[in-house]
Assembly symmetry: C2
Homo-oligomer: 355 residues x 2
C-alpha cells in the first residue's frame, strides 16, 4: 500500500487521489483517442499529410488500452452497465487494430534474425540491412549462387517464405482494420468514447472515493502472478527451458509461456493504474518500463518462434528451407529465455531496492 | 613463477622438481600405457574378461596424451632426435584412438538433446531413456503415429538419421583403430614406449635442471591464450554469439570456436606439466578441472552442432527431418555459448581467488 512520504519528488506524496483523478485520466485518454482517430482518417485518406498513419494507429491503440485497463482496475467506481458494455468493444477494437503492426514487427524481427544467423559475409549487400535479406531471399529462390552453401540458400528461401506469409497476413489484417474502422460497431464505440471525453460515468460515491485500494489490488495481482513464475530457473543463465518443447507434437503457443504473458498484461494494468493515480507527467518508473520491455520481447520472440515453426509446416518446402526455419525457431526460443532472464534480473533489483 | 610456501599441503612447497621427477612421471605414464595395451588386447581378444575394453582404450589415450604433452612442454630436457621422432607418432595414435569414442559420445549427446527438445510427452517410452528415442525414431520412420505432429516425426527421423550416420562413422573408426593397433607403425611406437618405461632419454644436464621454468612457460602460453578470448562477451548471458554464423555458407568448424579449442589444449598441457612437477597423487586443482570440463563441453557441443548441420545436408531428407536438425543445431550452438559462459565464470573465480 502506498504511504505518505517526505520526498517531494515522490508521486505518491500528497493527498489521496480520488475518483475525480480517474475521471480526469479517462477524459484525457478519450480526448487522445479522438485526436488519433481524426489524424488516422486524415493521413489515411489524403496520403499526403505530414503525420504518419502508423503513428496515429499506435496512438489509437495506446489510448484504447488505457481506457480498457482503467475500466478493469477501477470497475467498482464506474457505472456498471456502461462499463460492462464498453469493455468487450474496446477489447475487440484493440485486438483488431494491433494485428497489422504485430505481423509487420514479427516479419522484421525474423528477417533481422536470419540476417544475424547468416553472418556478415552471407549476404553481399548486408550494409543495406533487412531489405538486403529480402532481396537475397528473392534472388536465392530463382538463381541460387554457386558459391553459397546449401544452408545459405535455405536462409534466403526461409526469408522469402516468411516474407510472403507474414506480408499476406499483414495485408489481411490491414483490410480487417480498415473494415472495422468503417463499421457501425466501431462508430458506436467512437460515440461512447466521444461522450467519455467530456463526461465520465462515475458512480455516486466515486468522486471522493480513494483510488489507492483499487490500484493496490492491481499491484497485488501482479505481485502474486510474478511470485508464481519460475524465477529461480529464469535467473540461471542458459537453463535451456524455453526450447524444451521445441520439437514437441503440440504446436504453439507453448503452455510454459502463458504465465509470462499474463504477467505482461498485469504489469501493464499496474502501470496504467499508477498513471490514473499520479498522472502521466510524473517521473517514469524506469524499472517498471524495463520489466515491461523484457516481457514485450518475450511475447514477440515467442510469436516469432511460432511463426517460424508454422512456416516450416508449409507443404513442399525444400529441406534447406526447413533447416533454416528450425535454426530460426530455436534462436527465437532462446530469445524467449533471454527475455525471462532479463525480466528476472530487473525484477530482483526492483524488489531489493524498494524493500 | 612458483615460489617457496609455508603451507605443508601446498604441492609447490619443497625443493625444486628436476629432470629426475620428469623421468619418473614419463616412466609411470609409459608403464600405464603398456598395462592398458595389455588389458586392451586381452579384453579385445577374449571378450570375456572382467575389465572393459572401453576402459582400456581410455587409459591408453590418457597415457598417450600425457607422454605427448610432456615431450612438448619439456622438450629442451629430452634428447631431440628421440623426442622429435616420437611426437608425431603419438599424435597419430591419439587421434586414431579417440575417434570411435568421439562418435559414440556425439551420438549420445545428440539423441539426448532430441529427447529433451521433444518434451517429456513426445516419446511414450521416455523412461527408458536414449534407447527409447532410437526405437521411436526407427518406428517413426516406417509407421508415423497419427496422433503426433509433423515435427515430432521430424525429431524421430532426425534421430534415426543421426544414428545411422554416426554409428557408421563409429564402426569405421573402430576398424581403423583396430588396424592401427595391429600395424608395424604402432608396434614401433609401443617398442619405444616400452623402452621409455625403464629408461628416459634425458639430456646430459636435465637430471638436475629445474622443471619449473618450462612449466611456467606452459602456464604463460595458457594465460596469454585465455587473455585473447572474448571473455567479456562470454560472461554476458545470452549474448547470442555462438549462433551468429549458424546459417552462414561456410560449413563447420566455426572459426570463432578455434581460440577456445586452443585454450582447451593449452589448459591440458598446463595440467600435465603440474602433474610432472608435483605428481598425480597430490591435491587436484578443482578449478582447473572445472575449466577443462567447460572446454570439453564446448568442444563436444560444437562438434555435435556440426554433425547436425552435416546430417541436414543429406540428399532427399524430408523437410520435417531438416527442421528438427536445424533446431538441434541451434540448440547445440547454444550449448557452445553456455560452455563459454561456464568457463568465464570459473576462470574469473580462479583469477580473483589466486591473486
Amino acid at each position: 500500500m502506498a504511504q505518505q512520504h517526505l520526498d517531494p519528488t515522490d508521486p505518491t506524496a500528497g493527498p489521496a487521489p480520488t475518483g475525480d483523478a480517474l475521471a480526469g485520466y479517462l477524459r484525457a485518454q478519450a480526448t487522445e483517442f479522438l485526436r488519433a482517430l481524426r489524424q488516422h482518417r486524415e493521413t489515411g485518406a489524403a496520403h499526403g499529410g505530414t503525420e504518419d498513419p502508423v503513428d496515429a494507429a499506435r496512438a489509437l491503440r495506446r489510448s484504447v488500452r488505457r481506457i480498457s485497463g482503467s475500466l478493469h482496475t477501477f470497475r467498482p467506481l464506474l457505472e456498471a452497465d456502461w462499463s460492462e458494455g464498453l469493455r468487450p468493444e474496446l477489447a475487440w477494437l484493440s485486438g483488431t487494430l494491433s494485428m497489422e503492426h504485430a505481423y509487420a514487427a514479427r516479419l522484421e524481427r525474423l528477417l533481422l534474425a536470419l540476417h544475424r544467423l547468416s553472418g556478415a559475409a552471407a549476404f553481399p549487400a548486408q550494409a543495406a540491412g533487412v531489405s538486403a535479406v529480402v532481396d537475397a531471399a528473392a534472388g536465392g529462390r530463382d538463381t541460387p549462387p554457386a558459391d553459397r552453401g546449401n544452408l545459405t540458400v535455405g536462409a534466403a528461401k526461409a526469408g522469402a517464405l516468411l516474407d510472403r506469409q507474414l506480408t499476406l497476413a499483414r495485408t489481411r489484417a490491414h483490410s480487417t482494420a480498415l473494415q472495422a474502422l468503417g463499421s457501425s460497431r466501431f462508430h458506436a464505440v467512437a460515440d461512447t468514447v466521444a461522450v467519455l471525453a467530456s463526461e465520465v460515468p462515475l458512480t455516486a460515491v466515486a468522486h471522493t472515493a480513494d483510488l489507492r485500494p483499487h490500484a493496490a489490488a492491481a499491484e497485488e495481482r501482479l505481485t502474486d502472478a510474478v511470485a508464481a513464475l519460475p524465477l529461480v530457473t529464469a535467473g540461471s543463465p542458459y537453463n535451456a527451458e524455453a526450447l524444451i518443447h521445441g520439437l514437441s507434437p503440440d504446436p504453439s503457443p507453448h503452455p510454459q509461456d502463458a504465465p509470462w504473458h499474463q504477467v505482461r498484461l498485469l504489469l501493464r494494468l499496474h502501470r496504467y493504474a499508477r498513471e490514473a493515480l499520479y498522472g502521466t507527467k510524473g517521473p517514469i518508473d524506469v524499472r517498471l518500463l524495463t520489466a515491461g520491455q523484457a516481457l514485450d520481447r518475450h511475447r514477440d520472440a515467442a510469436e516469432a518462434a511460432a511463426a517460424a515453426a508454422a512456416a516450416a509446416r508449409t507443404p513442399r518446402i525444400a529441406p534447406a528451407t526447413a533447416y533454416a526455419l528450425g535454426v530460426l525457431h530455436a534462436d527465437q526460443r532462446h530469445e524467449v529465455e533471454a527475455a525471462r532472464f532479463a525480466f528476472q534480473q530487473c525484477w530482483q533489483k526492483q524488489t531489493v531496492s524498494t524493500s
